[in-house]
Each structure stands twice: as C-alpha cells, then as structure tokens.
C-alpha cells in the first residue's frame, strides 16, 4: 500500500492537469487550439469528475499523513508543485487573469491601477476573457509591485506571463512551507500544510495571492520569535499591503511586541491559536463584503496547521477545507451564480463541519459511556 499509493497520487495529479484544460475559456484566444467546450457542454460529467478528484485528494492527504515517516517530503512537495504548475489556472477562479490585467495597467500602460480600470484600455486583447476589468486594483501595492517581476519577464507573451504568475505563487508557497517548518519545528505541520488539498488547489492550481500575504505574515511571526521587532513590523505591513486581511492580526502582533518589550514569556501555541481564530472569524465574516471564497481559508489554515496538537481546530479546518472545495460544484454543474447555487454552496461548505461535530459528539458520548462502564465493572 505504502509503495503503491504515491505513484497513484502523482498519476492522479497528471490526470488533474489534463482535466484542468477541459475548462479553458472560449474567449482565451491563446489557448484556442485546445479549447474543447467540455466543461460547459458536459457539466454533469465535469462536476462529477471534479468531485471525484476532490475526494481522491483528501484520501491521498490522509494516506500521506498516515505514512509520513516513510515519505521524502521534499521530493513530494517539489513533484506536486512541478506537476500542478502545468495546470490551467482558471479552472476554479479567474483571479489570475485579474492579477495580470492589473499588472499590465501599471507595467505596460504605465498608469495607476487604483485610478484606471483595465476596461479603459480599449482594444486590449485581455479584456475579452478577464472578468474584473471594470474594477480598479483590488489588492495592495506590495502585491502589484511583486507581480511586476512576473509581468516584465513575460516579455509581452501572455502564456509566458500566465505561467510566470503561477511560478511566482509557487515560490511563495515553497517559502511558506519553509517558514512553517522553521516556526513549528514539526514535520506534521509541514505535511498538513504543504499537502492540504485546499492549499494545493488554491495555490498551485488557481494561484491566489493569499499565500503571498500569509508568507509575509508568517515571516513577520518568525522574526517576532527571533525578537527582531523592526523586521517583523516591516513584514506584517508588507503582508497587509498585499490583501489587507492580515490587518486583523495586528492586535495579536501588538500584544506580542508588548510582551517582548516587557521581557515576558510568550505562549506561541496560544498566539497561533488566537491568530487562527481571528483569521477564521474574518473568513466567516467575509460574506458581509461579498461572499465566502474558498481561497480565503488559507488565512487561518496556515495557523491551524502550525498547532496540530489543537485537534478540534485541526479537524474543523480540514472539514471546512473539504466543504469549500466541494462548494465549487454547484456552479460547475449549473453554470450560474444565481438560483439555488448560493444556497447549495453554503450547504456544501457547512455540511462536512456539521457531520464532523455530530461524529465528535457521538464519539465523545460513546467514549464517556465506555468509561462509565469501565468504572462500574471495576
């Protein structure tokens, strides 16, 4: 079993790469030769296949965690990253196109993306397939500056630029894994984080910038642990200036700085627990702004996996991850964001959490009655 499942895992990843290209956009002229229209013409098959992939990824996640001691983590991460680097990035979200459009406003047109929307550059070929062209830049200036590297190295070739953006996000994913290992000093955390199906999907496939934001947040915590307050301040600000959400870590951050200045001991497990909870709270409140997007889970997953000893948090994080990845299915199936899709999405997000807590409650009751039985016998 141990020897068999890893080749099957890699083979599944390869199949997922092929599957991802069935979702290429009709208007994406650069991929016109490989456009099949499968995802829109055969919605039922596409959705079922996607759900099977999600289930498989979670099975592999379980197996990897179970046999982690006999697995070469570095090879596993590099191979997973390398294979998924080849995926079509807009199978689940079109954000990568928005990142490129924003970057183009600044680095190609040399205009301020906070004032000008991509749609104002009439005739630009990316207007046909980019979704948020009628919005000014949504992300912080640090993110836009960082994307300049990928954009400029794209040499005006869209496909090259697209994969440069994917590579950039993968590099930050690898950097975050490094920081997780440095901070937690626990291989279980590294396995939990690096191979989490949600992290993999949203980072290696969809290339969301949330991982970049969390990289800087973790880097800031890393320097806090090392008591280098100035550097940690710079990096937390950098993190905030990527996607703003980590501003909710600031109170935790100030608390640690005060403790450090007073030379009081810091319970880092508690710090990460509170950080996970505060980011989870913001994640759940994100529906007030727009809706709960699956990639927002990266905000708290990073902290949850740093403290795997907090079992309930870990189970909750994984249950939410599972639900979030399944929540893509209603749109994939119906092709619309309206109708029953929003409700189905919410049900799918929270159903695994509900199942988990029912299971835990039953399990606890069972253990408790077993304990009572043991007491009675003795």
């Amino acid at each position: 079993m141990k020897k068999l499942f890893l080749p099957v895992y890699f083979f599944t990843l390869f199949l997922f790469v092929i599957f991802s290209y069935l979702f290429t956009d009709q208007n994406l002229s650069y991929f016109h030769n490989i456009y099949t229209g499968f995802a829109t013409n055969s919605r039922t098959i596409a959705t079922m296949t996607y759900v099977i992939f999600v289930l498989l990824f979670f099975v592999f996640y379980y197996l990897i965690l179970k046999y982690q001691k006999s697995i070469n983590i570095k090879k596993l991460i590099l191979l997973t990253s390398g294979i998924l680097f080849l995926t079509y990035p807009a199978i689940l979200s079109y954000d990568i196109f928005n990142y490129i459009a924003t970057s183009k406003v600044l680095f190609f047109y040399r205009e301020n993306p906070y004032i000008l929307m991509p749609i104002e550059f009439v005739g630009d070929p990316l207007l046909i397939f980019t979704r948020a062209v009628n919005k000014v830049a949504l992300y912080g200036p640090v993110w836009i500056k960082i994307t300049g590297i990928s954009f400029i190295l794209g040499f005006d070739n869209y496909v090259l630029t697209l994969f440069n953006f994917k590579l950039l996000v993968i590099l930050f994913y690898l950097g975050t894994i490094f920081l997780v290992s440095k901070i937690s000093k626990n291989m279980k955390s590294v396995f939990l984080f690096a191979l989490s199906p949600l992290i993999i999907m949203e980072t290696l496939v969809s290339s969301h910038n949330d991982i970049v934001m969390m990289f800087f947040a973790l880097l800031s915590f890393y320097f806090l642990i090392k008591k280098r307050i100035f550097l940690s301040l710079i990096f937390i600000i950098a993190s905030i200036l990527i996607k703003y959400s980590t501003i909710f870590l600031f109170p935790v951050f100030i608390y640690i700085i005060l403790k450090t200045i007073r030379k009081e001991s810091i319970n880092w497990e508690r710090v990460f627990f509170i950080s996970a909870l505060s980011m989870m709270l913001i994640f759940f409140l994100s529906f007030l702004r727009e809706e709960i997007y699956p990639w927002y889970a990266i905000w708290f997953l990073v902290f949850s996996y740093l403290i795997p000893q907090r079992r309930n948090l870990l189970y909750l994080s994984n249950a939410i991850s599972f639900g979030l990845l399944l929540s893509y299915a209603p749109f994939m199936f119906s092709g619309t964001y309206s109708g029953s899709t929003p409700l189905l999405k919410i049900i799918l997000i929270f159903l695994p959490v509900l199942c988990l807590y029912l299971y835990l409650a039953v399990d606890r009751k069972f253990k408790f009655s077993k304990k009572l039985g043991t007491i009675k016998i003795s």
Partner: protein, 174 residues
C-alpha cells in the same frame, strides 16, 4: 384645408414659443467643495498638489486635470452666485488653466498607442457641459465689475470677456 391651416398654426406656435434647447450634455459636474475662506480649503489645495503624483500616466493626468477643471468651474459658479466676483474670477481662470492641460495629455496617450476615442468623447461631453454652465452664468453676471476691497486698490474684472475666453478654450476640444 381649414384643419391643415390650424395644424400648421399650432405647429408654428409650439415651435416659436418654446425655448430652443440644444442637445445638453449628460456629463455630471461634481458637488461644490469647500469654498475659499473655509479652514479646510488650504488643506484641500495641499492634497490637490500632492495627488498630482498619484495621478501618474497620461490617462491619469487627464483624469487629474479634468477633475480639477470641473471642481474649479463649480467653485466659480457658486461664487458668482454669491456675487463674490473676484474669487469667482480667480476660480474660473484656474479651471481654464487646468482644462487647457487635458488635451495635450490625451495626445501623448495616443502617441503611446493608447486608444483615446472614449476619453475624447468624455472630454467633449465635459466641454459641452462647461459651455452650457458658462453661458448660463453669463446671463446672470455683469459685463464688467470693479472689485474694491476695504484696504486695497480696486481690480477691474472683465467678466464677460473671461467667460467668452473660457468658452473658447472649451470649444477647441469640440
């Protein structure tokens, strides 16, 4: 035949008695901001100067000058209504100065290969709106005005000439 005459008469009556309104611009001017004398007025001006750097790029600069030109036109209009002719006159000159800077930036954008058709359309709309407001203003203010401050020498303001110049500046873009 008699009916036809009545129809013709009514047609002429309606057309001659009504005020001829040329196609008005849909362009919307901003609300009046703080007026001179307000304690936030100077702060606003400082922000304006700093935001020059925020509006970089040729399209950015077009936005910047368009915004300021609109702002000072509204300011001038409000001040004229309150008969603050000297301040109004200065605001109008400012609006003119900013307006004149818009088109060269659009031309630079064109040289960079940017499609300026939509922006040019907006500029024309803005020009029409400005002209519309300036014509209305001209009807409500004196031709010339001597502004005499309490402890200063008087200033002669050629208000109509200034408004005509302002209209001419905007007409160039039409």
């Amino acid at each position: 035949m008699k009916n036809l005459r009545w129809v013709l008469f009514l047609f002429l009556l309606v057309n001659l008695s009504s005020v001829r309104v040329f196609a008005q611009s849909d362009y919307v001017l901003p609300y009046p901001s703080q007026m001179p004398g307000n304690k936030f007025y100077t702060i606003n001006q400082v922000i304006e100067k700093i935001s020059y750097f925020w509006y970089f790029g040729n399209f950015g600069k077009t936005y910047y000058y368009q915004k300021l030109s609109d702002k000072y036109l509204v300011e001038a209009k409000t001040l004229f209504e309150y008969k603050q002719y000297l301040l109004a006159y200065k605001s109008l000159l400012k609006s003119n100065r900013y307006f004149e800077k818009i088109y060269p930036y659009l031309l630079s954008a064109k040289k960079e290969g940017k499609d300026i058709f939509e922006k040019q359309k907006i500029l024309k709309e803005a020009s029409r709106k400005h002209i519309e407001e300036l014509e209305k203003l001209k009807n409500n203010i004196p031709d010339k005005f001597e502004w005499t401050p309490e402890k200063d020498s008087p200033t002669n303001l050629n208000l109509w000439t200034t408004i005509d110049t302002s209209i001419a500046i905007r007409s160039k873009t039409l």
